[in-house]
Symmetry: C2
Subunit: 308 residues, 2 copies
């Protein structure tokens, strides 16, 4: 195989009680990428459509991730990358993760899989570092593994795949205002009170248990974030009214996707997701901001290979 | 039934990554209590053996817990309590929890169970408040429910019962020095860094997942505490060498039980527990402190009714 075409999906990180550790993979939205073997060594990004992003491999998350993989292999092999972006950069649903994960996934396939999906997270994470200013894996992990993932630690990387309750459904709304991850990180405090930290890990432990037991009531009780959301939600128009409206029609939880401005809701079943969709749509339509909104099951597969 | 005799077991709270939320119930060590109906209303503690503890119901955790239950029922019924303490107060293995949980369990049985075990946690927790200076449920919950429990929150109380992997075994060592919970709480900082808080909830989430998946390697990687242990371990003789020796012979984790001075290790299987027992025994014997040490499976039943 000399060339591969893939779909690299969007993802939601920082799921309420799981700041910096929990993420899940989305279905309908994602980038397409073509990766092909080249005669010259190293990585070249030869085309990017859909977004203004640098072709320079040192300044592009896909390039940095791809080079990290090739450096580990100490290979002289070379690859060309074409990126067709559908995920807007700075939207909070893992735009850079899709590019970084897609690049290493594609190259790994063309090399007959020298690395496991877990190992690829390391390289993709290096790409992510360029976008966010710090190393984190809570978007690249669910994109590479599919489903819901917990990043126990990034040093060294240790990712746990969590079960996905059958009816769990996400609603994502992306208000078209840009919020760079690096800025959203700046408003996070360096310290938290012990009291709030204990609440957060109590909620996270309970949420993990609820995923295993398919206990939707417990998911609802534990999808809380009193640490990051109170600060970051101030940057998102109508956050509190969107949250209240979503919960009022049955959302299990509602929070900021990644570092925003996108928001997510989780529901039990598609019917409730449609009600949440309508509730969000009504509020955000009324304030004159351009936005996108869609419903997605949790994507169990992650990146997928497309036919030529 | 006019009288009931029960065994109320010891327990381990603050399991490494689960400070203030995770606890498990022990098997071999516990108090015995006799609770009987009385003609006069209210609660009387008529006998305490094995420890110097106040008979005054307002100053005894069993009395406070029992009164909380009777107040909720608005009943004129009365009960006498006899307590035969085997768990040393201030040892860090839930001495006050055993008394508080035992009292409400016994009275509830004599009243034909108006409350569920989950509901009893509320009353037992009120008793615990007297001992620790703050409301917490991470000892009373495993004593009343059995097994391993996660206290998501205490306001209102919300406790999740977690699965117990079959081979999970505990080793407990109690150095006979007293450390009051209220003092051990004082040395805990009011704030933690965001970085360490994230590590802690990553570890807790992973540990909960590992219990469901019976993944002993992941339990071992996630049984860490970089928040409370670095402070409290300074109060415990030979903590670091006990920890290293336990891990060297295969312990999955080693940490402070409750607020100390007892320490716990968790192992996969009794054989490894015996090696940990020997390793701890050798070190602590050499420093001339009186101590107790024992091996226990996780007690799935919790409090048990004894024959007359």
């Amino acid at each position: 195989m000399d060339e591969i075409k893939i779909f690299s999906p969007a993802s939601v990180a920082n799921i309420s009680c799981g700041f910096d550790v929990l993420g899940f993979c989305l279905g309908p939205v994602g980038d397409e990428m073509i990766i092909r073997k080249s005669d010259s060594s190293g990585v070249k990004i030869i085309k990017i459509e859909g977004q203004e992003l640098p072709l320079d491999v040192k300044k592009n998350v896909a390039g940095v991730a791809a080079e990290a993989l090739l450096n580990e292999l100490k290979t002289e092999r070379g690859f060309e990358i074409e990126i067709y972006k559908n995920i807007k950069a700075g939207s909070g649903i893992g735009s850079s993760a899709a590019s970084a994960a897609g690049a290493v996934f594609g190259i790994n396939e063309l090399l007959n899989k020298p690395f496991t999906a877990h190992e690829l997270i390391n390289f993709a994470m290096e790409g992510e570092g360029l976008a966010s200013g710090s190393v984190h894996a809570d978007n690249v992990a669910p994109v590479l593994l599919g489903g819901i993932t917990l990043v126990r630690t990034t040093d060294p990387i240790d990712v746990v795949q969590l079960p996905t309750p059958k009816e769990l459904t996400a609603v994502i709304m992306h208000p078209k205002i840009e919020l760079k991850t690096v800025h959203a990180r700046e408003i996070i405090k360096k310290n938290v009170t012990m009291e709030k930290a204990i609440q957060q890990w109590g909620n996270l432990g309970a949420f993990v248990s609820a995923l295993y037991d398919e206990d939707y009531d417990l998911m609802s009780r534990s999808l809380k974030d009193e640490i990051v959301e109170p600060m970051r939600s101030l940057l998102i128009p109508e956050f509190e009214s969107l949250k209240k409206a979503s919960k009022d029609v049955g959302a299990l939880g509602f929070g900021i996707s990644g570092s925003g401005p996108s928001v997510y809701a989780l529901t039990k079943g598609v019917d409730t997701a449609e009600k949440v969709y309508e509730a969000i749509n009504e509020i955000i339509s009324s304030i004159g901001i351009d936005f996108e909104i869609y419903i997605s099951k949790i994507n169990q597969q992650g990146i997928k290979i497309l036919p030529d």
